[in-house]
Point group: C2
Chain length 167, copies 2
């Protein structure tokens, strides 16, 4: 079982939103039903947010998805890979690869757990804590930029409505 730093090819941008022009939903065509449902504008806003955050991070391999993993690790020191993956809806193999990514960057370490040699506790390294702090600032900034047309009350409203949908 490999615990040392894996090296995988991790170049490139990684997701559709990054490559997709933000002109979405601003065409002269009639969008028909797409204007009247929630699903489509949700997707458009997701792409906007994703694109904005990717630009703010300005380090293409560090995708929003990978940040989510770092955030979970930072907030839940010692969590197992299985837990982390489940929290983001990832398979075990995708989780392994995501954690490899941060480990290869020196941001995360797998510590063996006394009493159970099958599992690892995942922890930020010192360098990881710095990277994490810097990324969190960018995430906050990017999110503020995304919602710049909304008042603070409206942002609260939006989060409340979204929470009602996903419980």
């Amino acid at each position: 079982m490999r615990v040392g730093g894996a090296k995988r090819d991790q170049s490139g941008l990684g997701d559709e939103a990054q490559r997709r022009a933000p002109r979405l939903a601003n065409s002269d065509l009639d969008y028909g039903l797409l204007k009247d449902v929630v699903g489509f504008p949700i997707k458009v806003v997701w792409i906007l947010g994703y694109t904005l955050l990717t630009r703010t991070i300005d380090d293409p391999p560090v995708t929003p998805q990978r940040f989510s993993m770092l955030e979970l690790i930072g907030c839940n020191p010692g969590a197992q890979q299985t837990q982390l993956g489940a929290a983001l809806g990832l398979s075990r193999s995708a989780t392994t690869i995501t954690i490899d990514f941060w480990q290869d960057r020196g941001c995360v370490e797998r510590r063996s757990v006394p009493g159970n040699r099958r599992i690892y506790g995942i922890y930020l390294t010192e360098a990881g804590r710095e990277t994490w702090a810097a990324l969190r600032q960018k995430v906050r900034r990017s999110d503020a930029e995304l919602t710049k047309n909304l008042t603070p009350e409206e942002v609260g409203q939006l989060r409340g409505l979204l929470a009602k949908i996903h419980q």
Copy 2:
């Protein structure tokens, strides 16, 4: 230049949301900053909506993305591929393949345009109109299901807030 029906392999589900458990954001871990920004819940709701619609359509190759294209074609008869692709933020090659998909299903036809032999007008066929109508019903039903915890006023609020973000 090929205009007749292309055959490509089009099995499978097609997107992350389909495969991803809807447990997202319901773990016992601390989600930290992810709880406090708009970007993450937007993604969670998008995945929920995508999963719900995919199940409602119950015909895996017909993804939400492909429905979007059919909706645009239905609402804009005779539009060019380039326009359709731009409206959804797709490259020309991805647009070609998406239209091939519907043409192979007998739902869409490419008609040559008098006076300009480089372009095609894209139209629904009679069968396409039926498929379109049936899918539209499912899209409405699925969207209603997604927002079942919201009052009609709240749905209007949500759409208004999303519109403010993407203009």
